[in-house]
């Protein structure tokens, strides 16, 4: 009997595993893919402020590029530059980063194993008591006091535990991305974001540089469109000769949860972390920092519960409470911003690009200064209703 079994070795799962192993618990971390971190479903950006807040000591080999700012393009081509005289973020190599996080868990004493597919939860008297899975073709069962579902956007474990995690297609973006080499990057060290309803309906195209001529070139659009994300991205690339000439090193895709945070993420002896719980920033779609934050909250709640010898839903509910207080309320505000941005036509996006500074945009993505955005929208009679949604 293990103390804790964690399903899924992304940043969220590995954080839970590391923190609990450090506290001396018997922890197992299982990953269904044959290689932790690959294939990625991510643009690989992580802000310096998140790294500092989480006190992550990321090794150099996990970092591909230092980011000094961003350039945001409105549909009419007008750009807003966000520039800093220091490094404000990194583009990671997720394959390396995720492995490093799993290594840290293993070093702390967790039992980590890839290519281990967890098929089912085990129940006893209606309560989760372990997992059933396969490894190298052999079925196995393992019991645990607590099971953590960190199995990503397609989480099966969460559904089996009886949590309402199915995403409404309006709250799930559809993402497609090429990692490309030999592209012309006009602004080394800068993210480039392209908005416009014909470019990326209810979303944007991004270029995240991974060096002087390598970049993740991707798109996220609303998940209920008739045309696939890939086709929008391919069309956009055709219009950019400097990108079109590049070679494709990787093709990535994924659903990006952009809202619909779960009121309840726990049941008896069970909780959910990361994409499985939709813990993603709804405006930029970044989930690494959110998963690690939630993973650490989960670990300390599980620690307390195990010490008390009571891992019931009532005790684990503290995870809901702490997460909502520390992250959920903020993310809910950002979700509202996303709802407003999604309703903007190209004309409104162009208008905003002429009114806003780069610093404003950056603060908006963190859920700050939304009052200022509302005020600017109020200047145009047609946008008053939209502005009210922010207040």
């Amino acid at each position: 009997m293990r103390d804790v079994i964690i399903v899924g070795a992304g940043p969220g799962g590995s954080s839970v595993a590391k923190e609990l192993a450090l506290r001396g618990y018997d922890v197992a971390l299982y990953e269904k893919r044959q290689e932790i971190g690959a294939p990625k479903r991510c643009g690989e950006g992580l802000s310096s402020s998140s790294i500092e807040r989480l006190n992550l000591k990321i090794p150099r080999h996990c970092i591909r590029e230092n980011i000094k700012g961003a350039i945001v393009y409105a549909p009419n081509g007008k750009s807003v530059e966000i520039s800093f005289d220091r490094v404000v973020g990194h583009i990671l190599e997720r394959k390396m980063f995720d492995k490093w996080m799993a290594e840290e868990a293993a070093r702390a004493g967790a039992f980590v194993r890839a290519k281990t597919y967890i098929k089912e939860l085990l129940f006893e008297n209606g309560k989760v008591c372990g997992v059933r899975g396969t490894f190298e073709g052999e079925e196995f069962e393992e019991r645990a006091r607590v099971v953590v579902g960190a199995d990503g956007v397609e989480s099966k474990i969460g559904k089996m535990a009886g949590l309402k995690i199915r995403s409404n297609p309006q709250l799930m973006d559809s993402g497609y991305q090429y990692e490309m080499a030999n592209v012309d990057l006009e602004h080394r060290g800068y993210l480039e974001l392209y908005f416009g309803n014909s470019i990326a309906p209810r979303g944007y195209v991004w270029i995240f540089p991974k060096g002087k001529d390598v970049a993740n070139v991707g798109i996220g659009i609303a998940g209920d469109h008739d045309r696939p994300a890939k086709s929008y991205l391919d069309d956009w690339i055709t219009t950019k000769p400097g990108i079109r000439k590049g070679s494709i090193l990787e093709v990535n895709a994924g659903g990006i949860p952009v809202g619909g945070f779960l009121k309840n993420m726990v049941t008896d002896n069970f909780l959910l972390v990361g994409d499985a719980a939709h813990q993603v920033n709804p405006i930029h779609g970044g989930g690494i920092a959110e998963s690690i934050t939630a993973g650490r909250i989960a670990a300390s709640v599980i620690d307390e519960a195990l010490q008390k010898g009571d891992t019931s839903a009532r005790t684990l509910d503290k995870y809901n409470k702490v997460w909502w207080k520390e992250r959920g309320e903020k993310l809910r505000k950002i979700e509202k911003l996303r709802e407003v941005v999604e309703e903007m036509d190209d004309e409104t996006l162009n208008f905003l690009a002429s009114e806003l500074s780069g610093r404003d945009l950056m603060e908006f993505t963190r859920g700050n200064r939304l009052g200022k955005l509302a005020k600017i929208l109020m200047k145009k009679p047609g946008l008053v209703l939209l502005a009210r949604k922010l207040l």
Partner: protein
Amino acid sequence: MGGSWKIDRERCLRCGACVSVCPADALELTEQGIFWIKERCTFCGICAKMCPAGAIEVKR
């Protein structure tokens, strides 16, 4: 209720986006790719719209 559900395995990147929005729990992501559970499918087409690669075709 009837219809057809098809996946182009050459286009599918096994990302699981379809699984996350299926209202009938009729899809699963396994190591072998997307697994379709015919008996549960309502042929609503939500998975096809979500698929970033345009790999799923649903007819009802």
